[in-house]
Symmetry: C2
Subunit: 562 residues, 2 copies
């Protein structure tokens, strides 16, 4: 194979594939050079002027840039399986994904991580896993599985694993928590990703000193700059919810800061959004529109990412590098016309998705529901806390309501009931509370996507529909449902660990749009997402008040209040 | 230890060493920031404002930059042992050396490589070895040992080894030589250094495609640029003989080329020159004087080098990085006032050098000399080739002299005899020829430094003095000698493998200066170095005519001619 590569480069032997007449971006020199690209065994042999080959692709002066690298993503957040997700990434020029299976690990632990690796293997992409470092995420909820320091030590050097993923537990790092220290020591010769929103000063120094080498939580240029100064690589994030790119890149353009220590990522991005604009392709396009030199934007998306993660042979169109290439009809618009992975054209192209084995479609395991399952607990101080949803915001407000007023407010639909039911080990743990601002008029809505423990979250105007909604979720083994009068108005099955759809993305997206419309018809406020809003109501790290399967949690007091 | 680092960074625990009031070069952002540096267990814990510590060093606003990295050097060419060499490097700010023990390997093979690693361990420096890939260098001479593909496979993953060193045999790479392919495959997951003077076009593409990742032979900016385009990192060389920096860096300054893929090296630099101006320190200073931004020059000397060789935790003054730091009273003049290695001050400071065991001081093993040892072979075509030394040049010219004229020319000192005697395995192989342009009037000069096989090279006006010179070399077990009338006018012992001195550098340097003066008094031309010139006369790769222990070699015809 080495001989073939050398002889192809020398022109002594025809290339397997010859890309002719290309304007090639050289990410080492930030130049665009005109020439041909000779490929052998999926590796770039040489760039220059090459003759005949069994397969010649004349790109007629289009641009050829290195395949993009998505440096941090949670595939589960796309709501489709890894093979479907990767096929979509490829269409938009991403040939390497670095992913943290944090959500699936909360459901199924190491088995879930292996599932994500196995299924992604159906698609020709480099799929690297960063091991989830914080499963469970908190002690205030019951999730499906735990990732222990021992698991990290066992997995850390396995093929496909690059290191340890976002160390969200930065208080644990700064407090020298024994388990956290153990994980960091296991991963010290690999890459340890950070997750430290607004961490600064000595805390940031300590976080970096511990060996954490990246962060994707910067929301401003100033925050990114301090992190780069501290030696952290900054992964500029542009996802479905968190959109940090504009603030950071505008600052880079204004200051002329060297971008070598920066790359792009999406973190959480929904398949519908990816299908619309792509992931890293969108980051590059936005950066260029903000005034970043195209060469630097593409370099961030390729060579910088490869350097940050030590990915040898990735990130450049150069001899000896893997032939991962994106052909563009327009450089500034990032108009992708072809994508090559290891010298094979993957876009345009189609992939057959393998059916997911039933083994991974049976994660909903709840205790039998009882007549009083959705009954509110006894009042405290004569009443109950209320969780207020705010429009277009992820934070909530809290208030208090007297016990005597509850039934009236429920009947008038000013309040709904909300329940979180542990769904992994049939423990029967159930938290029941009161919710305002959701808007549902008559019926129930339920989901099995509930960050980070992914228990069942059900909201309803009456116990009967809530009961029926949970039954429906159980039957589907996960998903979204909308119920009225014990009838299913609409449902989206998410059978794969209760997080991911098993069907084709187009159908999934249109079904979801229809279900969303029906939910709004049922009264759900126009200014919130009927399902994603619920998914975050059980995350006891977000202000101000949340509910888990253990009860209503006051995030500011950091304790259960009901 | 991790806990201590974190708590030191947080200021909860005093640093082992606190460097106060520094102007710190941040190589990530290319800024100079004012602050303190807190160090714990030899690692930088934090940069900022820190309080009391058991050891505080107030540098009063001096600059602190990362320790320098010499990316490619042959320690043997300094003519002192690795511990003496490293102590000298430290004084000039080099805290990491990447070295190729090519010379010693030609004498003693793997044992020699291990010797260099062991002896360097006496000095607090990071001493990384790149395994010599071309031992022996040619088939036209007999050296002491061979480094086989098997040896590379065995050693490649040992501690202290980074990869495979300069693949000088680029025809072997391009020709897919089996042994070369085997070495490259063994080293493919490590770093493979190149050595490809003027390699260009498809040959360069093929060389890079083979997996070679660096080159230090560029002599012009254009050559460096083409290599960087091909994905090779360019190690800008400034040694005792080869001085490539000016041409390359002037081009970088003029073009504004990104320097990320460039670092500095010395290749071959003599201890006398190092002692005068240092190694990498000199490269930085020269680059700044040519107009390169100081921040970029220091970055080339540290972070870039660490990135090119994948040296995690080296190359920056940042939390979690090894506390390798240079304190400078002047940034542009690179005026070194202190050097720290792993948080220990090594300059100002002294190191005791361990005596070298006799085991490594007995490498001269020659067959008994005979009366006719220095007799010229029978004439061919009625005469002999003559090797002409040219002043201030390393290349030679050739001519032919009739057999009848030889004795007259020898008596008139227009010619000397030159002999190369195999000195490793007492095979008795001896090449005898004629030399002009050396200038020696009466006597003999001999050396055991003879690239790359390091046989004994002796030049003389009469057989008796040549005989005596070799005997003296044998007695000293290697070195330089100057003989007249069977008396030793001067001698420099190089007992360590016949290549390196065992004494203190100051004495060595003054002794060498005196011996050089005596050699000039004995007639050796003012415009050549009496010893280094001889050292290159046995290197059958340099034009136009050479002599080895196998005879007189015509480099242009690529064959022995006498």
């Amino acid at each position: 194979m080495l001989e073939k590569l050398i002889n192809t480069a020398l022109g002594k032997q025809p290339a397997d594939l010859l890309i002719k007449n290309a304007r090639i971006l050289n990410v080492f020199t930030c130049e665009i050079v005109h020439g041909d690209i000779a490929i052998a065994d999926g590796i770039i042999a040489g760039i220059g002027s090459y003759g005949a080959a069994p397969r010649v692709e004349d790109v007629a002066g289009q641009f050829v840039v290195p395949g993009f690298i998505n440096t941090h993503c949670h595939v589960e957040s796309s709501m489709v399986t890894p093979d479907v997700y990767c096929a979509e990434e490829l269409k938009w020029g991403v040939t390497t994904v670095i992913t943290d299976p944090h959500e699936v690990a909360n459901v199924a632990g190491v088995e879930g991580i292996r599932f994500m690796l196995d299924v992604s293997a159906n698609v020709p992409i480099d799929y690297f896993v960063q091991l989830p470092s914080c499963v469970p995420a908190t002690l205030f909820e019951h999730n499906g599985a735990e990732i222990k320091p021992d698991d990290i030590a066992k997995l850390i050097n396995e093929p496909g694993i690059l290191g340890l993923s976002e160390m969200m537990n930065y208080p644990g790092v700064l407090g020298c928590d024994a388990g956290v220290m153990e994980m960091i020591v296991s991963a010290r010769n690999r890459i340890i990703d950070g997750h430290a929103p607004a961490l600064s000063g000595k805390d940031l120094q300590a976080y970096a000193a511990a060996g954490i080498r990246t962060d994707h939580e910067s929301t401003s240029f100033e925050e990114a700059l301090e992190k780069i100064r501290a030696g952290l690589a900054v992964l500029v994030r542009e996802g479905s919810a968190a959109k940090d790119l504009r603030g950071i890149i505008a600052g880079v353009v204004a200051s002329g800061l060297n971008t070598d220590r920066m790359a792009f990522c999406t973190d959480d991005k929904h398949i519908a959004d990816i299908r619309r604009v792509g992931t890293i392709r969108h980051c590059i396009r936005e950066s260029i529109s903000l005034g970043l030199e195209p060469e630097l934007a593409y370099r961030m998306a390729s060579l910088n990412a490869a350097n940050i993660y030590g990915l040898k042979g990735l990130g450049a169109v150069a001899p000896g590098y893997q032939a991962d290439m994106v052909v563009l009809s327009d450089l500034e618009d990032v108009a992708v016309s072809q994508v090559y992975k290891r010298g094979i054209r993957v876009f345009p192209g189609e992939f057959k998705h393998r059916a997911v084995s039933p083994r991974f479609r049976n994660s909903i395991n709840i205790a039998p529901l009882k007549d009083d399952s959705f009954q509110l607990p006894k009042p405290k101080n004569g009443g109950y806390p209320v969780i207020h949803i705010l429009e277009n915001q992820i934070i909530t407000e809290k208030s208090f309501i007297g016990a005597d007023l509850v039934s009236v407010r429920l009947q008038s639909n000013e309040l709904c009931k909300i329940a979180v039911i542990e769904r992994h080990h049939a423990t029967g743990h159930t938290g029941v509370g009161l919710l305002s601002g959701y808007g549902l008029k008559n019926g129930a809505v339920a989901t099995t996507v509930g960050h980070d423990s992914h228990n069942i979250i059900v909201v309803g105007t009456n116990d009967a529909d809530m009961f029926y909604a949970v039954k429906e979720i159980q039957r589907m083994q996960g998903g979204y449902v909308l119920i009225r009068d014990k009838k299913t108005l609409g449902a989206i099955p998410l059978p794969v660990y209760g997080l991911m759809s098993a069907c084709e993305p187009d159908k999934f997206i249109t079904d979801l749009e229809e279900l969303t419309r029906k939910a709004r018809d049922a009264g759900v406020s126009r200014n919130i997402d009927p399902f994603i809003t619920l998914s975050f109501l059980a995350l006891p790290l977000l202000p101000k008040i949340r509910i888990t399967d253990m009860g209503v949690f006051d995030v500011e007091k950091f304790e259960f209040i009901h």
